[in-house]
């Protein structure tokens, strides 16, 4: 570990967390200011950073774990970045600018970036910790779920993005999957009722049984999961339960260090925490009250922070989030004010039988939200328009139906 403390010519930058936010940040920073910092990445997973977004594809058997590695070891080496895997930071001594690791060692830093991400939440119900209850967050979870046999019955709790992906992945593996969602529609934070209804049909066509308005009250079984019970009295036998009920920012470390923490580690437009030279990015950060559970804001934050630490001016003004569900054959995109209530004007095109739904939300002639299901082509353009706030009156038809075709002569 001596090497870590030697290079006095360069400023010591330590990143806690070796996930997608950390990787993107490091990439941006080393591109912009190569050699400026002496960089150390500390991650608690025993492997190099991988694309967590693609875990559902791994679960579905469409990709292997190796396929989703973000950068090979070679890359980190070439970038001059030291990576400490399978090691957990247990304490930040901000006054001393020092980190304590779970093996008792300490690491000093000049600048600290928290990219600790988030963890899967579990419902506080009886039986939530029985054997056979899983979450769906990391490679270990995927490995555990991959072991479920074809004859087994799995119950996924949570009809958001993660729950859908988990349910789809399991169904692809031949597992008998039921998805239970407490709300009256799937992905209610990204979809309106009509869109969610089309999604439900599409998901059901993929072999996932969907229960809506299903408020899970108890997981029961002798020694391991056997049944899941719901508020309406329904009781469903299950060999495995997967919680996909949301995430919680990993902010304990920061909280213990006395940093300002809400739902996440509070940061300003420079991604700075309440402690000097300590920054936070990704799912552990809370910016103006918003904790993002998506990779794109993490990337934006990583880029802004990298620019700032490279001496370039940049500021993070929050992200317009978009959601992309990655379930083969069920494309879903949602961004911005997808409901479009109040004075917004909605443009909705739907073909339920063909699994097609396109909704644009326009306010004051500006695109403020969109939902695309089935065909998500043009999603990037829509997101750009939502972000730019450009006037759209002249291109509404194109936004809905794509660029006009050449008419046959």
């Amino acid at each position: 570990m001596t090497v870590l403390q030697d290079c006095r010519s360069r400023e010591k930058l330590v990143i806690v967390g070796a996930g997608m936010a950390a990787t993107r940040f490091v990439e941006e920073l080393t591109n912009r200011a190569p050699g400026r910092y002496d960089i150390l990445v500390i991650g608690d997973e025993p492997r190099l950073a991988y694309n967590r977004v693609l875990l559902s594809s791994v679960l579905a058997g469409e990709l292997s774990v190796d396929d989703i590695e973000l950068k090979p070891a070679q890359w980190w080496r070439v970038a001059g970045v030291e990576v400490l895997s399978g090691r957990k930071v247990i304490k930040i001594d901000a006054a001393a600018r020092r980190l304590i690791l779970d093996n008792g060692e300490s690491v000093d830093y000049s600048k600290l970036v928290l990219a600790t991400g988030s963890r899967a939440a579990r419902l506080p119900i009886e039986g939530a910790d029985l054997p056979g209850v899983h979450t769906f967050r990391d490679v270990r979870d995927v490995e555990a779920l991959s072991r479920l046999g074809k004859e087994m019955r799995a119950l996924v709790i949570g009809g958001g993005l993660l729950g859908l992906e988990a349910a789809y992945g399991l169904a692809r593996r031949g597992v008998d999957v039921t998805l239970a969602h407490v709300m009256d529609r799937l992905m209610e934070r990204q979809l309106d009722a009509a869109g969610a209804d089309i999604l439900r049909r599409l998901v059901e066509e993929k072999g996932v049984r969907v229960l809506l308005n299903a408020n899970t009250t108890r997981i029961s079984g002798s020694g391991r999961v056997e049944n899941v019970e719901f508020a309406d009295g329904q009781k469903i036998p299950a060999d495995a339960v997967i919680f996909a009920v949301g995430i919680q920012a990993n902010a304990d470390l920061a909280r213990q260090a006395g940093l300002d923490v809400g739902r996440g580690v509070k940061v300003d437009d420079g991604l700075k925490t309440s402690e000097s030279d300590v920054f936070a990015i990704g799912e552990c950060a809370e910016h103006h009250g918003a904790c993002y559970g998506l990779v794109e804001p993490a990337y934006e934050q990583g880029r802004v922070l990298a620019m700032r630490l490279a001496g370039q001016g940049a500021s993070y003004g929050g992200s317009v989030v978009s959601t992309n569900l990655k379930v083969s054959g069920v494309r879903v995109f949602s961004a911005g004010d997808y409901l479009g209530e109040g004075d917004a004007r909605r443009i909705v095109c739907k073909d339920p039988r063909m699994g097609l739904y396109r909704k644009l939300v326009v306010r004051d002639d500006r695109l403020v939200g969109a939902i695309l299901i089935g065909d998500t082509s043009g999603a990037a353009d829509l997101l750009d328009l939502i972000r730019s706030g450009a006037k759209v009156s002249s291109m509404r038809d194109e936004l809905m139906f794509g660029p006009p075709m050449q008419e046959a002569a």
Partner: protein, 926 residues
């Protein structure tokens, strides 16, 4: 007499006397306009093409005739006798019960109230044989001349004008005259749309022989587009123009003094009257609203051109001075000796397929039978021929008077046959109300529902339709042609003549034992010749002894066909032979031009009514053709742009048109084709096909004093703008009942109905309408709140069963129609219903121009861009206009627009300096 003409009857077979269905092509005659084109119908009627051997058309057909095959379905047909029940619904009854009730009812009312308490209202769509039996029953056996016909609305002024001038209702010329004339004058005739096949003959003459065409009309019609000289005359001023012409010809010394002296009488008074009305070109200009230079051009051309045919139609007839207008025209032809000579004649273009046959029979209230009137000798002659017990001895009530008498309660029983007076008569709302007062109201028709039937008809008698019935019709050039059956009569439908014969027998009358239409025809022919001795022009005695086989094989022949050589005659009166006491034709002094009504502050515009290219009358038949419906699918009103602006009406918006008699709501079209101060609306829509477009309800019931024909083209009116929150269309496989307050017009589309709609309904109310009509869960939708657009489609399997689009602005439905016509749609086609974008295999052809070959405006414009600079070229490139040619004026207009856009070409031809100013100004420029 009767014994001679009637073959032995086989009464018991009457109901089954079905013409054998032919396995091969059947020669027949088109059921639409008075041109009377021959057609060849395939065994099932699916293919109807022009008959190359028929002298009216030599194989040509207009778009309406070409689409006949699309109109033979049984949907909406009346197939069984029906009787209205106490609850207002109709229920099926037997023929025996229905005919007994008709006969008993007529007998009872005649017994109680006299013969004039009953009436029959016939149609120019009927066969001559139908007319004959109805007329005989009424005028010879019931004893009333209350027999009139919708021809009263169409041709009556010509009949009266002919009788006054020639002593008989005779069209002196023939269609060949249109090929041989050097000048053709069309007065009040949009022949390009209403008589397309004749118009094409005129155009060919123009092309091949450089004949000149002058069009006189209040509207710049498609016909006017093709004219060398277009005179946009003030309404009601026609006789002023022709009086002016008579005066001009007199001054010029252009009269045929020999003809006048030998063969006519009355010139002095007529010329004196003409001089009062239009003493000079200046005076003519003042009366007609025309420019002096145009008048002079026309007069000069007329004077210089011995071979002149003046054709006239509804613009002349439908007037409270229609008869004087006809005579003002005929005066000029008599004065120049241009009557019945090759290429030189006045020529009435008849509106209906058999208005002429009806006139020949005498199926009008003011004639008795076979060109005989109510003179004592005639009454006696017909009595003897018919062996009639109770002859009508005086004229009956003409159409408008007839329905007034019904309203008063004087007429208590009415039998309406094959026409729709509740829609087509002037002041039609009053007519509808009057019908509700009848004690006995019989309708024989093809359809189970129309405005007349729905005015409370008590008995509905199912009649055979075109293609099922068999008999004869007469066209505008006096040519008698056979309509032959090629389809089996559906249900219990029967020939109209047989219904009258049956009722007559049930009333106890002898002389109605007809076995076939041939029997009826032979009797009709025999009556025409009976004690004729050249006293009556209508003589077809040469046909009185046709065998059944000869009747079936009868070739198209022009009357008179006397018993001498049995051959017809193409022309009459070139050398006199008029039917008056002195054998001379008569000049008639017309009255001073004057419209029957005056404009007021409340009704400051004149409402003109008329036909459009692809529809016929109340659309009973043409309305079944998807192809025809694509041309002009909505009822509309044309307004001059300055009037539109003044009254706040938007082009493409909606307008309420009101007169002192009624109102309706129409799509507004602002166009310079319509003169300022005058609006135009088509006659075709009824409550069957539109929410609020019965134009007959708006027309003033003012009639010509001689003909009784109403002035249908000049009712004082007001137009006000109307706006709807949304408009658009629904395409449905079945009919849809739309809620109150929805403006709609329905047309046939491939395998379904197209509804053009407009309304202020809420989103929820529209959703209800759509959900009810869709009857399927497989629905695609586009809801655009930024445009207030609702569109979508419902599917059963891969077939769209309902397509809709509703928004504040008008929606094109061309793409939707094309996709609706298909049996299956793939995913991209489903989506294109919402996007309005055509995928590769679809083309957006633009508004339909050529109905015959379904060619759209964009295709034609493309052809013009590629160098086509005549309608002929465009026809070669796209086929547009190469069949019936009725769209050729529109093609020419597109060419002109295109050329004008490219360079400012002066279209005035070098070879007609006299007309240069008028022609260039009038025919170019939009």
């Amino acid at each position: 007499m009767l014994d001679e003409v009637l073959a032995p009857a086989a009464l018991e077979n009457l109901h089954n006397s079905i013409a054998p269905v032919q396995a091969t092509t059947t020669r027949s005659t088109c059921p639409y306009c008075g041109v009377g084109c021959g057609v060849l119908a395939s065994a099932n009627g699916a293919d109807v093409i022009g008959d190359p051997a028929h002298p009216a058309n030599f194989g040509r057909l207009c778009s309406k005739g070409s689409a006949l095959g699309e109109t033979l379905g049984l949907e909406g047909r009346l197939l069984h006798p029906m009787r209205r029940q106490a609850d207002g619904a109709v229920a099926r009854v037997s023929w025996d019960a229905a005919l007994d009730e008709a006969a008993d009812g007529f007998r009872r009312i005649v017994d109680e109230h006299g013969p004039d308490a009953v009436a029959v209202y016939l149609s120019g769509q009927l066969l001559t044989e139908d007319y004959y039996v109805a007329n005989k029953l009424m005028k010879g056996f019931i004893g009333s001349a209350n027999v009139d016909t919708n021809s009263r609305l169409c041709m009556a002024s010509t009949v009266a004008g002919h009788k006054r001038a020639f002593g008989a209702d005779v069209v002196p010329g023939c269609y060949e005259d249109l090929d041989q004339a050097d000048l053709i004058v069309l007065v009040g005739s949009n022949a390009a749309w209403c008589h397309p096949v004749l118009f094409q003959r005129i155009m060919r003459n123009k092309e091949e022989r450089n004949a000149k065409l002058v069009v006189i009309d209040t509207r710049r019609t498609p016909t006017a587009e093709s004219a060398d000289l277009f005179l946009q005359i003030a309404p009601g001023a026609d006789q002023a123009l022709f009086c002016g012409l008579l005066v001009y010809l007199a001054k010029l010394g252009a009269f045929d003094d020999d003809y006048i002296r030998r063969l006519t009488t009355g010139l002095t008074q007529a010329l004196k009257a003409a001089q009062t009305i239009a003493p000079s070109i200046e005076g003519t200009a003042a009366s007609t609203g025309l420019r002096e230079v145009d008048i002079a051009s026309f007069f000069e051309l007329f004077a210089q051109t011995p071979r002149t045919v003046t054709c006239f139609s509804q613009g002349v007839n439908q007037s409270a001075q229609g008869t004087d207008k006809v005579n003002a025209i005929i005066n000029c032809h008599l004065a120049t000796g241009r009557v019945g000579k090759p290429g030189a004649s006045p020529f009435s273009l008849t509106g209906q397929p058999n208005a002429m046959g009806g006139r020949e029979v005498g199926g009008l209230a003011n004639s008795l039978a076979a060109h005989m009137g109510f003179e004592i000798e005639s009454i006696d002659r017909v009595r003897r021929f018919w062996n009639a017990p109770r002859m009508a001895t005086r004229e009956g009530l003409k159409a408008v008077q007839m329905f007034d008498a019904i309203a008063r309660g004087d007429i208590k029983a009415l039998w309406v046959v094959g026409t729709n007076p509740a829609a087509s008569l002037p002041n039609a709302n009053a007519v509808r109300a009057a019908l509700g007062k009848l004690e006995l109201f019989i309708v024989s028709d093809n359809v189970a529902s129309n405005d007349t039937i729905n005015s409370g008809a008590h008995l509905l008698l199912p009649a055979q339709a075109w293609g099922e019935k068999s008999g004869t019709v007469t066209n505008s050039e006096r040519r008698i042609s056979r309509q032959r059956a090629f389809l089996p009569p559906p249900g219990e439908t029967r020939a109209d003549w047989s219904l009258f014969a049956d009722v007559a027998r049930r009333m106890g009358f002898a002389g109605f034992a007809y076995r076939s239409s041939a029997d009826v025809f032979r009797e009709h022919a025999a009556l025409s010749a009976f004690e004729n001795d050249a006293t009556r022009a209508f003589d077809i005695g040469g046909l009185a002894r046709l065998s059944d086989a000869q009747y079936d094989a009868l070739e198209p022949t022009q009357w008179p066909i006397d018993e001498g050589d049995g051959k017809g005659r193409a022309r009459l009166f070139a050398e006199g032979g008029f039917i008056s006491q002195d054998g001379r034709a008569k000049f008639i002094a017309p009255a001073k031009p004057n419209l029957a009504t005056t404009l007021t502050k409340d009704f400051p515009l004149r409402l003109n009514t008329g036909r459009i290219r692809e529809q016929w009358h109340t659309m009973t038949r043409t309305g079944a053709s998807p192809r025809l419906a694509r041309h002009l699918p909505e009822p509309f009103v044309e307004v001059h742009p300055s009037d539109a602006e003044h009254f706040g009406v938007e082009d493409g918006g909606f307008a309420r048109v009101a007169t002192p008699y009624g109102s309706c709501v129409l799509r507004a079209v602002a166009t310079v084709r319509q003169p300022a101060g005058h609006i135009f609306a088509p006659i075709h829509w009824t409550d069957e096909t539109a929410a609020d477009a019965r134009i007959g309800a708006l027309v003033a019931p003012c009639v010509d004093p001689f003909s009784g024909q109403p002035e249908s083209k000049a009712t004082p009116a007001i137009i006000t703008p109307l706006r709807f929150a949304r408009q658009g269309f629904l395409l449905s496989r079945g009919s849809i009942t739309l809620p109150e307050g929805v403006w709609w017009a329905r047309v046939a589309v491939a395998n379904g109905y197209g509804y053009r709609v407009a309304a202020d309904l809420s989103d929820d109310a529209w959703t209800d309408v759509i959900r009810t009509a869709a009857a399927s869960e497989d629905v695609i939708q586009l809801i655009d709140e930024t445009k207030s657009l609702l569109s979508g489609a419902a599917f059963v399997g891969d077939r769209a069963t309902l397509i809709w689009a509703l928004s504040p602005v008008a929606q094109s439905w061309d793409l939707a129609l094309e996709l609706f016509a298909r049996d299956r749609l793939d995913q991209s086609e489903r989506l294109s219903l919402l996007s309005g974008r055509s995928s590769r295999q679809l083309t957006n052809d633009g508004p339909l121009v050529c109905s015959c070959f379904s060619v759209g405006q964009k295709q034609i414009e493309a052809a013009i861009q590629q160098g086509c600079c005549s309608a002929l070229d465009v026809g070669k490139a796209t086929r547009a206009g190469s069949n019936c040619g009725s769209c050729q004026p529109e093609i020419q207009r597109l060419i002109k627009i295109s050329l004008a856009a490219e360079s400012a070409i002066d279209f005035a031809r070098e070879d007609k300096p006299n007309m240069k100013e008028g022609a260039s100004d009038e025919t170019v420029g939009f």
